[in-house]
Symmetry: C2
């Protein structure tokens, strides 16, 4: 298992598309920045075949531990949920070495 | 809450970067395709400020319902987990309208 960085993908895409590295870098960075901006506005991003990004919000609340009956403050939280698209699901299933049990 | 598509971001990035739309499209599509390929190989993608994509695997197993003691087959599954990066976390906290309780 390797870790792939943005730089590595930019180099690869510059090679494969014959576009200038500086152009590829600007476009990829704009793409990632736009996603962040849209998520910050609670918009949903849907990229066909790839997947969906959306925010989940939970207000601050007081919860109770059912065993100890202790009351605990749970702070508000906004997170991002990613859901795989069709093609990603298929590719991950194809490449899987785990045998599915009927 | 709106849904933003790949097409919409491509149009926006073509406008803002002054690159040809066809070039932007090819670069964004290559980027998304590379991510899928790497995840299918169980590699981790780390984009500074944006976040991390990684796969989670669970082998097929037999679980037991603790209440009924019934044994159930749980099939194998590979999924993708997205974890927000520093900048995305900050932007989502800034834009939050929910007041944090101390």
């Amino acid at each position: 298992m390797a870790t792939i960085t943005k730089k590595e993908l930019i180099d690869r895409i510059a090679d494969s598309t014959q576009a200038k590295r500086v152009v590829v870098k600007r476009i990829i960075q704009s793409f990632l920045d736009e996603i962040i901006t849209e998520l910050a506005s609670d918009n949903r991003l849907e990229f066909r075949d790839f997947g969906v990004f959306e925010t989940r919000s939970r207000n601050a609340r007081v919860a109770q531990n059912p065993k100890t009956l202790e009351r605990v403050k749970v702070p508000s939280k906004r997170s991002v949920k990613f859901k795989m698209g069709r093609l990603m699901k298929e590719k991950l299933a194809d490449a899987s070495t785990v045998t599915e049990q009927a």
